[in-house]
Amino acid sequence: MSSTLQETQGRKGRPITDNDAQDITRIEELSYDLRIFEVMSREVFTLAPNQTIRDGLELLRIKRISGAPVVENGDLVGVISTEDLMRALTQNDLKSPIRTYMSANVISVKSYEPVVKALETFARTNVGRLPVTNEHDQLVGMITKGDITRGVLVAIRKDYQEEEIRRYRVRHLFEDITSDRTSLILRYHIKPRDFINGGQASSHIKRAMLRLGASAQLARQCGIAVYEAEMNLIIHTTNGGILRVQIEPHRILMQTTDDGPGIPDVNKALQPGWSTAPQEARNMGFGAGMGLVNIKSCVDKMEIFSGAGKGTRLMMEIHLRPEEKFSAAEGTEEPGI
């Protein structure tokens, strides 16, 4: 019941965001991925059924635990909890054997079961600690909710470290690979009139740049240039086109290629405010006639090859300043204004 509320409302009654959803699924995933033997405590303090209640109290006090499994000839025959011992105390019955007060009806979990099984058992039975047995029903450990929390935290930290390592590797891609000329090429097919997905390729390009360690300013320059170019393919081309980005340690080459209808007068297209965009594009907020002008202001070099009835090739290039070069050592990132 409470879990359905959580699914629709999220924590603290807020709607679930992508981020929350990611966290929840990861923890849920972990509770299925992690096995009980991975998180349980292996150090188990046991009692024998013929030991006295006094022995039981001593063990719990010294080891600071709230219950212990009772084992006879290697087999789990019961558990004794603080409450059971208190019952004995009120009867002033310290000399009786543990057997008299223990619960013989033992709820336990198997070491190879997923952690979620232990969670379900905790919720169903309201006990705080569960004995863990192996496939031969021998006692191999104990599990508490605290063990599970710790286990999940360790697993999440490991995830996080792996992600960090991956980011580090991407960032140092150009340093790690030796060649006379290394370049990374990203290629996207852009469909005509696809206004819904328009900008997705540019979004991926900007993200890739940031992951490679580009400064916010450089990623933004590239982002704006390829976004305008991508929208041009969507708005103007007959069959769409290719958006290609070539990342090299010292420069970024961006290029769009299409097969028509072509630009009859390239000089006119370069004038601010000149546009041939159809109403559909204008409704989407494009067609201000600033696209190529914007691109030009974001890149160091821009060239257009086109003509009426021909395809168009738009080439853009950004030279990286020495401190922005991808092969540069760490610490060159700067917040762009």
């Binding site: 206004f195 819904i196 328009g198 916010a216 494009f286 696209g291």
Partner: protein, 137 residues
């Protein structure tokens, strides 16, 4: 108070808290799960996205009467920090989803472009609109 007087006394601020901007435009945040305590450096009002891309600087608030996915994409590309949709325009769920994913707060205001821009400008928010001769203001 007459607008003129306030303009004469206008003191430009280095930044304005987004929460303050929301009060000025009497806006409602449409994706409250995104952080709204950002510090906004300047503002830009436009319906044409290429105009936005031409003038806007990072950490800006964008005021617009246009309401489609490309507004959110434009904001993403230009590092726009927050978007205010004017005249009570309500973005589609896909837009809210994308904006939330990219961490961009979406704000809806019942007021119009002229009034919202005027109020923010008079309160000292910097203009991010470069004049075509290259100067500011």
């Amino acid at each position: 108070m007459p607008l003129r007087l306030r303009h004469n006394n206008r003191k430009q601020v280095n930044y304005m808290k987004l929460s303050e901007i929301i009060k000025h435009v009497q806006g409602t945040v449409l994706n409250p799960e995104v952080q709204t305590d950002a510090e906004i450096i300047g503002g830009c009002g436009a319906d044409l996205m290429s105009d936005v891309l031409a003038v806007v600087k990072p950490e800006a608030v964008l005021l617009t009467g246009l309401c489609n996915l490309q507004v959110v994409r434009t904001a993403e590309m230009a590092d726009v920090r927050a978007i205010v949709f004017l005249r009570g325009k309500q973005p589609m769920p896909e837009m809210v989803e994308l904006a939330t994913q990219k961490g961009i707060p979406l704000i809806s205001s019942q007021r119009g472009m002229f009034e919202c821009c005027g109020r923010l400008y008079c309160s000292g928010l910097r203009s991010f609109e470069t004049n075509m001769n290259g100067s500011h203001e």
